[in-house]
Amino acid sequence: MIRLGSAATIGLMALSRIAQLVAVILVIATFNFVLVQAAPGDPAQVMAGQSGASDPKLLEDLRREYGLDKPYAVQLASYLGRVVRLDLGYSYRQRRPVVDLILERLPATLLLTVTAFCLALLIGTTLGALAGLAAGSVLDTVFTVLSLVLYATPVFWLGLMLVLVFSVTLGWLPPFGYETINVKLAPLEHALDIAKHMIMPVTSLAAIYLAIYARLMRSSIIEVAQQDFIKTARAKGLSGPSIVVGHMLRNALVPVVTVAGMQAGALVGGAVVIETVFAWPGLGRLTFDALLQRDYPVLLGIFLILSIVVIVLNLLTDLIYRLIDPRMTTGAA
């Protein structure tokens, strides 16, 4: 009964969140629109200016073509109308539907960021837990220093150093790109080729998150280890491993899940530096280019997708909380 009750509560919560989602998305879409329009810069002027020559006719043509000559309110209404119809519009600069542009780039970004995220979470929490359990030992000191160094290392610098060592000096890994261009490979070879291209960008991207999770997990484990229920478990005569796995890890994971949930959304759009250094054809670079060009439809489309991803991840985070810590299901937490 208790389990059924928990499941029903989780289900109700999920439904309520999904209902909120639609309203939130519309508010976010409006906010994004206002924010993007508030930035100085006229997309028509950027497009015309980059040609090294410009004239009134070109500017007028571009503004008319993309509806930039209409009042903001009309543009906003038109945009929200398209969002409701799941139409993200048409790129000023690339002259292609925004959905196509995003879908084209999303797989590469997901491959990069999800891999980096999973590795960082797995290795980071493991190292953090080991360091926390052995607090004050040599192992703890080594892990702590290592995570501090990784945390302090600029991502772009780490990326470039990896290229310098493993590509330029040793010649082991391809310096950039998603795959080897202009060769025909069997599916397995192709997968291995992509994996080889992923090693350095994933390492660079994972490093800082790994450090964050390791440090967070370490302090969380140390804190949980001093809680009364751990002392009780020990007093009851439970074995060390069962205390660690059954009691300490589950409780210590709560702050890590919170931070990981927040960062997972940022990871999708936040890989711009790594994507730039490694010429990785992903969403981060598309965002950056669109921002420079004031390609509003692309920016708004990406922002909207990212907003939805963040909302969904927050929802998942809430659900995971309740799986890790049943107290949260009843609202006790």
Partner: protein, 525 residues
């Protein structure tokens, strides 16, 4: 063998050497050239987008009637010959036979007339201005094009490079919305290379156009343009041989020196003669103190431009003496020179009444740093230090491309740096910055500084329609003298962008338009 016979034998051997070398390193078929494109072009049709990356890449796909040598003289492009009537009003071009588009359809004079008079006048700002001078364009037979001008226009023959007048297929574009034509993605031109694949964010793959009209060309099988957004990564790619060619701003100026030391690479600054990039410190002439000629003259004195060329551009630049580049036509080297002199600058500022206050400060000026790479930021720092020496506080303001374009285009700035291409003739690339008729708010790369002088307007106008080269030289000399005296902008440097390439590739630079060339004659030895 006596001495005479020996000498004769050596001479004969010497004569044979060039021949044998030619044979040994003769144009060979095959090979792949990997190079860089950055930023990624939005599309490849040069008729609709004239950004530098589009032109570099599109130059392999689209051609025009002419090319221009390093001396800026016209060379055959798709036109094998041309004639100009004595009155300078009629230009007749004869096309090469058997030119085909990448879809196999023939390219004829009808396509040329359609491209120049219909498409480009609609979509290409520079071409619009050039072809507005044409009274009529005719295609009397498939290989002949005749342009009749409304009045003589001296540089008309300079309007037919692949960046200014690319020829597009009439059978694809006629009756359509040119910019939205679905076949724009296919980029169908007549060039030696055609588009095989464009993986957005990754690379653009060009392969040889087998139906190309010039015998045996192109020699290369394919060209791959890799999109590498980070300048350090681009330099590494060139260093480790992943790419074999870098051009324009692919490599930062401070990286160029180390590539000169890399044995397999050739570094040249040739191939930019047509563009002749000319850089200046732009001052809004509408605002005090920049509205005073003496202030602008002081600016010319207070910048150590030799040091700017050496320290910021690492020698990849030459000091500019006036509005016309020494690399192009009608340059007058005898104009007034502004030497680096803080004392002269101070004297001019004192004379105009801009005297230092108790803290030694004369003025505060906002300088918008153009967002086009690290060299611009370094130049901004250099200017700030230079102005500080005379008591002017230059406040550096950062922005992005959109912000810079909006502020400069709308005259909402005090000072910035600017750069324009000279395009082979002052009537095409220089006058636009100084004539009053081109003061157009909202339009970037017009006379944004707001300088106006009726005599300068008259001289530029007259020189544009004068056919006699000696007379033009005289008119442009006069205009240079006036401009150098008035200093509407403070000319700083003639930039010398590098082209860096693997020595195994030949003919990379064969004309004055350098890497925008078709690359039909490029081969791998």
């Amino acid at each position: 063998m006596n001495r005479r016979e020996f000498t004769q034998a050596m001479l004969a051997a010497g004569a044979a050497i060039p021949f044998s070398i030619t044979r040994a390193v003769g144009q060979t078929r095959g090979g792949t050239l990997n190079t860089i494109i950055q930023p990624e072009p939005p599309l490849l049709v040069t008729a609709f987008n004239q950004q530098q990356p589009t032109l570099t890449l599109g130059g392999k796909i689209y051609e025009s009637l002419l090319k221009y040598g390093a001396d800026l003289k016209p060379m055959p492009g798709m036109a094998q010959s041309w004639e100009i009537s004595p009155d300078g009003l009629t230009y007749t071009f004869k096309l090469f036979p058997n030119i085909t588009f990448h879809d196999g359809k023939p390219m004829t004079s009808e396509d040329v007339v359609f491209s120049c008079m219909k498409v480009l006048t609609e979509t290409h700002p520079r071409a619009r201005q050039n072809f507005a001078r044409v009274a009529s364009a005719e295609a009397p037979d498939p290989l002949t094009v005749v342009f009749k001008l409304k009045q003589p226009f001296a540089p008309f023959l300079g309007c037919f490079d692949c960046t200014s007048a690319p020829i597009v297929p009439k059978h694809i574009y006629e009756g359509t919305d040119y910019r939205k034509n679905p076949l724009n993605d296919k980029a169908i031109g007549t060039g030696p290379f055609k588009l095989k694949e464009w993986v957005r964010g990754s690379h653009v793959h060009l392969v040889r156009h087998d139906g190309y009209y010039l015998k045996d060309q192109p020699y290369l099988d394919e060209i791959i343009y890799r999109i590498i957004p980070d300048s350090a990564s681009r330099a590494l790619a060139l260093e480790n041989g992943t790419v074999q060619l870098a051009q324009w701003t692919d490599v930062e100026f401070f990286d160029v020196q180390r590539f000169k030391a890399q044995k397999n690479l050739e570094v040249t600054t040739k191939g930019y003669e047509y563009f002749a990039p000319h850089q200046w410190l732009e001052m809004n002439n509408r605002i005090a103190p920049m509205n005073d000629k003496r202030f602008r003259q002081a600016v010319m004195h207070l910048i150590d431009r030799d040091a700017l060329a050496k320290r910021v551009y690492f020698g990849s630049a030459k000091v500019a003496t006036g509005p016309i580049s020494s690399k192009t036509k009608f340059y007058d080297g005898k104009v007034k020179r502004y030497d680096y002199s803080i004392d002269k600058a101070k004297a001019l500022l004192d004379e105009m009444g801009l005297k230092p206050d108790a803290n030694g400060k004369r003025a505060e000026i906002k300088y918008i740093v153009p967002p086009y790479g690290e060299s611009y930021q370094r130049a901004g720092e250099f200017f700030r230090q230079s102005f500080a020496r005379v008591g002017i506080d230059l406040v550096l303001v950062g922005t992005d491309m959109a912000g810079w374009a909006e502020k400069v285009g709308n005259w909402d700035y005090e000072m910035t740096q600017n750069l324009l291409y000279q395009l082979g003739d002052p009537a095409l690339g220089v006058s636009r910055t100084y004539v009053s008729s081109n003061i157009k708010k909202g339009i970037l790369f017009s006379n944004t500084e707001g300088y106006s002088n009726p005599e300068v307007d008259r001289l530029f106008d007259e020189a544009a329609v004068t056919l006699d080269e000696a007379k033009r030289l005289e008119l442009y000399s006069k205009v240079q003298q006036i401009l150098v005296e008035d200093v509407p902008v403070a000319w700083t440097l003639e930039l010398e962008y590098p082209i860096i390439y693997d020595k195994a590739f030949k003919n990379i630079v064969s004309t004055g338009i350098g890497s925008h060339e078709t690359f039909g004659s490029v081969y791998k030895s």
